[in-house]
Amino acid sequence: MLKHTALFEVHQKLGGKLVEFGGWEMPVQYTSIMDEHQAVRTAAGIFDISHMGEITVSGAAAEPFLNHVLTNDIRKLVPGEGQYTLLCNERGGAMDDLYAYCLSAQVYLLVVNASRTPADVAWLQRRASEFPQRADLQLTDASHNYSAVALQGPRAKEFVGNVVAGASNCAGRVARVTDLKKNQIGGFAFQGTNVLVSRTGYTGEDGFEIVGGDAAIQKIWDALLTAGQSRGIKPCGLGARDTLRTEMGYPLYGHELDENTTPIEAGLGFFVSFDKGDFIGCTVLAEQKNKGVAKKCIAFKMTEKSAPPRPQYPIWSTGANAKAIGQVVSGTQSPSLGIGIGMGYVPPEFAKPGAAIEIEIRGKRAAAVVVSKPIYKKPV
């Protein structure tokens, strides 16, 4: 029995093509992935992200607990700020990648992947029960309380303030929602209730992610589509979400990250803090940082016309001793570049931008090149 978000009927009414994702029935596209992708890159797109999980962590022990279970340094956050971070197991393998927000002193919000919410909650509850200061720690899976939308695109800021109006009333204090800086989060009144808005996103464009109760988010979805109509807003599904994040080289859990892949192997060492004290997985991660890794995540671009690269396609080295060296984990046709792009894992000696590789596509090898991220670089 697949789960439905509060916007499910809206997706049906808009003609969304519904598919299964992480136990939820979600729209993969409404019109075409290409159109929806281009709308986000040039105007604005709105995504239902209600399937994602929200976990609240509070109390005097919240900060030390989160620094114990997450890789990034939560002490960097003042109220109203968020950071990208990872939850790792004892082997340094990624349990999830997520955003952690400090809403106020001793109150944190974690926004986690839909497919990992039950695993994350179970893991955090077990770790909390073992934590010495657990008496000063409250952990709640609040996912069922919240719906959420992501408004993304260069024109989003032109009309978001018409829907979420006024100054923030908690977390990050700003005079208007468009004053939120990147990674900043604030609470805003909306028709008798409160919503949280963060200047974050998964597309590489400017944007806002809005978390609130079901009724508020339903109204906000409708209001944003209406307010953005003259600016070219489109509703966008998971298909465009995937092409947008792949162009940016952003990881998707289950592809670039899994329980047997560490943040260091995934190229996310920037989000691992080694000067905050011990955290779960730190021994393995420190060793990888100092001694190197056996596999490294690369981004690549096809250099000849080919069918799109797709997950699990073999990656080959080139030249006289060409051999299979790894596997694609994400791949697609880039709507912005008009060529195949993707990410994969190879031994570190093949992971240098500029290195020539080949992707085996249905038995034939096509030429590609390792590139630095983002794969799609916005024209300045």
Partner: protein
């Protein structure tokens, strides 16, 4: 509304056949391109290849899926459509015209008898989708999907009411 031209024959797997004497042109239907949406790549059989009816001989890829194309008839591939290799979007915009895939010299014309008529194919893909649009010419209206995004009307009230109260998100 999906286009199902009256002068073509159809396979269950959504290929169409246009017969001219002993040769046939093959492509995929408006219904098929609509399901795929953005075609990004087409792989065609080599000229000179012998194919059997039902054999996979081409591949059409969208952003999310790769689909095999099954030859509706047997024979020798005598021509392939370079235009659709260079510009795969033609499959979406002109599925019965410039979006054709390959031409075949029929080795067993009797096979045409087991292909579907426009009426039978229309019934297969669902009467509500075809809406009795059976064009009388070979090149019908362009295959651009007509299920366009429509602006939402006022949303109906919902019974799932849960709210973030100010107390959940304490003031700094």
């Amino acid at each position: 509304m999906t286009n199902v031209p009256a002068d073509l024959k159809y396979a269950k797997s959504h290929e169409w056949v246009r017969v001219a004497g002993s040769t046939a042109t093959i492509g995929i239907t408006d219904h098929a391109q609509h399901e795929l949406t953005d075609v990004v790549f087409v792989e065609l059989p080599a000229v000179g290849r012998q194919v059997k009816a039902g054999e996979a001989c081409a591949v059409v890829e969208s952003v999310k899926t790769a689909s095999d194309i099954y030859s509706p008839v047997s024979g020798e591939v005598i021509e392939v459509n370079k235009a659709v290799v260079d510009n795969p979007a033609l499959v979406n915009t002109e599925p019965y015209g410039n979006g054709w895939f390959y031409k075949i010299k029929l080795s067993n014309p009797a096979e045409l008898g087991s292909l579907q008529s426009p009426e039978s194919y229309t019934a297969q893909i669902g009467a509500r989708r075809a809406e009795a649009l059976i064009a009388t010419s070979g090149e019908g209206p362009s295959g651009i999907p007509t299920d366009q995004f429509k602006w939402p009307s006022a949303s109906a009230p919902t019974s799932r009411q849960s709210e973030i109260t100010r107390s959940n998100v304490s003031a700094a």
